[in-house]
């Protein structure tokens, strides 16, 4: 690890946008020879802030106005993250006055808590702890209607490039020169055709390969916390004629017979690519085939990004592609920024040099065009994968040794646990992601299709995450569970835990006989008096007269439910897909408080709900 630098770029990213913009900024700084530290907010060592002088933060917002997960993710060797350290009450108001900072928030004004992530960071770092701002923070809006780009119709990208421009202007003015071999020379940008060599990359190992790397069992090394599970059940639980395939998926640890988790906890599953897709990639980059199964090593240690989940051994190109490179994902700008210069293979061009030039120009445009519309139309809108881009641009001849620098790394996906606390047979409820675009091949989610493909007895890598969603103070109180669709997943665990006195479960789906998942279990519980069950079927009025959605049923029983909440300290636990549902439920909840909860007006009802959220009595888990 290199020592921390004076210039620091930090990002907080949930879906990867903030990470990608931060990567572009880091790339630009390297091309101007600016030494800097570049990592997620969670990976930044809090002590390094004393050495930092220029702090650049790009951060999005997730969930209900929260900071993204990698802001709070804790590295095992540390006891406290940068952000949890900054939140300590005893820090003086001049604690960060040695820092000059500039911030960029990525948000979406269709969510009520627009850009709360960057606003929280700003409030603490600038207003409360005294960091100096180089320029007012920028807030980008994915809706392009409010925020930094109000009324101009410009998207997030233009706000990023404005930010980049301001940052570079400042740094170039401050540090116009650099030293090379003791000589001071003017700082100039590196020729864009030159590829920046990563700190550590792959090379063929000197050791003589054991007979056939393919026959050796794959192991994952370097992450002690990753566990191996055995698949016990993988069953479709929606009817065959329903559009969505939902799986009941059970697995257990291969080594031990016990697990430690509570309702609301999640399992991280590490997916991989299919062998077919790996072969397709290798046949596209056919010069890789001769080295595909040779053992490899890193020139300068394992890159940080590869540590989570362990590194596949034996380390061959084939295994790296299968287990670590997310080449079936949609390429981001930084991918084009790094690879466009490798479009060099004129032998694959029908129209020779002219076509090669066209391809280079187009790729360079995707990499640098500040208005990302063409890239968006070509990649994001049809959900085109990196592999499909390579198949369209046959001139791209990639060097395999840098593969982990320019391809994105496969990250684990998180699923709520449905089994009861500590049950060694860990159960997940997974909706398989599939959809159509103009591309003829059906688009699939890498992790859900990986899960759907698993057979009983196969092994998976996983980790369990304790989220401490349910506080001990509320045990044995009444609980209201609201979970339409796959939102039911964590609620099942709550019911199985059997720690609440009076359990009301609101479930909703489209049709009673198509996607009413876990029908038998729920109805058994209802008969046995374990829960009171309220179902609504949004496209099946025959079986759901008068109520369409879960919130309709909540409203129908408003008086009773409000009484439980206001007078009996009931917990309210809401799960399911993000979007309109949680907003509608929330609005319904406030209306209920106003009508039956003795709150005179909107303000007091909202304040009550805020208090409930603060004490974790109104819990929302949406994804």
């Amino acid at each position: 690890m290199s020592p921390s630098k004076k210039i620091v770029i930090l990002y907080g990213s949930e879906t990867g946008n903030a990470h990608d913009f931060a990567t572009i900024l880091s790339h630009r700084l390297h091309r101007l020879h600016f030494p800097h530290t570049f990592c997620s907010i969670g990976d930044y060592d809090p002590r390094d802030i004393l050495k930092c002088k220029y702090l650049f933060i790009i951060c999005s917002t997730t969930g209900q106005g929260e900071l993204p997960t990698n802001v709070n993710a804790l590295k095992c060797e540390r006891s406290v993250t940068f952000w949890s350290f900054l939140k300590k009450k005893n820090l003086p108001s001049n604690f960060l006055n040695h820092i000059q900072t500039a911030m960029l928030g990525l948000g979406d004004s269709s969510y009520p808590k627009f850009n709360y992530g960057i606003r929280k960071l700003h409030q603490r770092i600038v207003t409360q702890l005294g960091a100096n701002e180089l320029f007012d923070r920028l807030e980008a809006d994915d809706q392009a209607m409010a925020g930094s780009n109000k009324g101009t119709g410009l998207g997030v990208e233009s706000v990023y490039f404005e930010y980049e421009k301001k940052v570079l202007n400042f740094l170039l003015k401050k540090f116009p020169n650099r030293k090379v071999n003791g000589q001071v020379i003017q700082r100039e940008q590196l020729d864009p055709q030159i590829y920046l060599e990563p700190l550590s990359y792959l090379q063929i190992s000197d050791r003589i390969a054991r007979e056939d790397a393919n026959k050796i069992k794959i192991e994952f090394q370097g992450d002690k916390s990753v566990k191996i599970g055995r698949v016990n059940t993988n069953k479709r639980i929606t009817s065959d004629d329903h559009f969505q395939d939902v799986r009941q998926f059970k697995f257990s640890n291969v080594e031990k017979n016990s697990e430690d988790y509570e309702p609301g906890d999640t399992a991280a599953i590490y997916p991989c690519n299919t062998d077919e897709d790996v072969s397709r990639f290798l046949s596209n980059q056919s010069h890789w085939l001769e080295v595909a199964d040779k053992p490899l090593i890193f020139t300068n240690g394992v890159p940080n990004d590869l540590k989570d989940g362990g590194l596949a051994k034996p380390m061959t190109l084939r295994n790296i592609l299968k287990y670590h490179c997310d080449f079936m994902s949609i390429p981001r700008t930084s991918f084009f920024l790094k690879i466009w210069t490798f479009a060099t293979d004129v032998t694959k061009m029908e129209r020779g040099q002219e076509q090669l030039d066209d391809q280079r120009e187009k790729l360079h445009q995707f990499a640098t065009d500040e208005d990302m519309q063409d890239l968006y139309d070509y990649c994001n809108r049809p959900r085109r994968s990196i592999l499909e881009v390579l198949e369209d641009f046959l001139s791209i001849k990639l060097p395999w040794k840098y593969v982990l620098d320019y391809l994105p790394i496969i990250k684990p996906r998180y699923y709520s646990i449905s089994s009861g606390p500590g049950d060694p047979d860990i159960e997940l409820t997974v909706a398989v992601v599939k959809y159509k675009t103009i591309l003829r091949k059906i688009r699939k989610g890498i992790c859900t299709s990986y899960i759907a493909s698993l057979q009983e007895g196969e092994q998976i890598r996983y980790k369990l995450q304790n989220n401490h969603i349910i506080k001990n103070d509320f045990l044995h109180k009444p609980i209201i569970l609201v979970g339409p669709g796959v939102g039911l997943a964590p609620l099942l665990s709550v019911v199985k835990a059997d720690v609440f006195k009076d359990t009301r479960l609101f479930f909703g789906c489209r049709y009673k006989d198509k996607d009413y998942i876990y029908k038998d279990i729920l109805e058994d519980w209802a008969r046995a008096g374990k829960i009171v069950l309220y179902t609504s079927f949004s496209r099946d009025t025959e079986n759901s007269p008068g109520v369409k959605y879960v919130q309709d049923y909540l409203w129908k029983l408003g008086e009773e439910i409000t009484d439980l909440v206001v007078n009996k300290e009931a917990v309210f636990f809401l799960c399911g897909s993000s979007g309109k549902m949680p907003i509608q439920v929330r609005l319904t909840f406030i209306e209920m408080l106003k009508k039956w909860g003795n709150f005179s007006n909107e303000e007091t009802a909202k304040r009550y709900l805020k208090e409930m959220e603060k004490s974790d009595r109104y819990i929302q888990e949406t994804w």
Binding site: Q143, G151, F161, Q193, D392, K436, K441
Partner: protein, 348 residues
Amino acid sequence: MSHYKSGLLLIHPAVTTTPELVENAKAQATSMNVKFVDQFLINKLNDGSINLEKAKYEIIKYLTPEAPADIQFPKKLIPVLAESLTPNGSLIGLSDIYKVDALINGFEIVNEPDYQWIRKDFSKLNQTVSIPLKNKKTSSTKSQSGNNKLPTFKKASGTTTKLPSFKKASNAELPILKKTEDFQSPSFKMAAEPKVYKVVDDLIEDSDDDFSSDSSKAQYFDQVDVEDDSIEEEDLIDENDSGKPMITMITCGKSKTKKKKACKDCTCGMREQEEKEINDVRSQQEKVVKFTEDELTEIDFTIDGKKVGGCGSCSLGDAFRCSGCPYLGLPAFKPGQPINLDSISDDL
């Protein structure tokens, strides 16, 4: 009772966060015997991705959270809305800010029983309004008949214009690129292996190095953790303040409007629009690629009579195809050679 007035509900994007407003508007409409047969976001209309039929609606309702005096409405849409109303149809939701545009486009502003704009009857319009409009030649030609207006409307939002505007934009980029990065070779010709550069970064110490962090700050890292000594994250946000976000106008950049992706639980009609687009492209594909059982693995794209796009870039892949290309969504292929469809066959 059996006949409903057909209505159009236009929505300001900010309304999507408060769906109950839409519900209210619908309920109110029902009580007035109006049925909203269409519902669109105003920006979809503004960027030309939705075109309105002529004389289709008896009522158009514009739903916006803005106060009447603060309404910002794209003026160019006012004639478009006028076109889509039946004679004597009404437009509700705009205010006197756009009074002039209302009059120019043949509306009568009515204050009773509720404020609204009524589209004057066509036949009457020519007679009654002709005298005052004589003074202003330009506006008289504009408002005399709907037919005269049509060409301008087409220019603004017709799909045929997409192509030239795309071309214009990408042509304009090239010179900029060259200007800012002069040291780059003029074309993209570069067939040799690209050079690789090992990062050598350097920062000459700056003058304000003395203004570095004070060593006393280190003590805060050595303190023992006491329970609950952290601030509440929620307290960092002042709810009352969130109404005025940090606004920095970005003036650079181009004016292309971004096409949006429909939200998960789309209610504004965008999802349907997207699905229609996908189906349109797919049916185009069906026209050029006829799949039979034996053709599942190999298809010859060069068979005579197959439709070919005008740009000559059909074989090069989507990145180079024009927006109306019948091959959109299909992989790049070599002209004159059969293409392997293994990779795209799982949906056939």
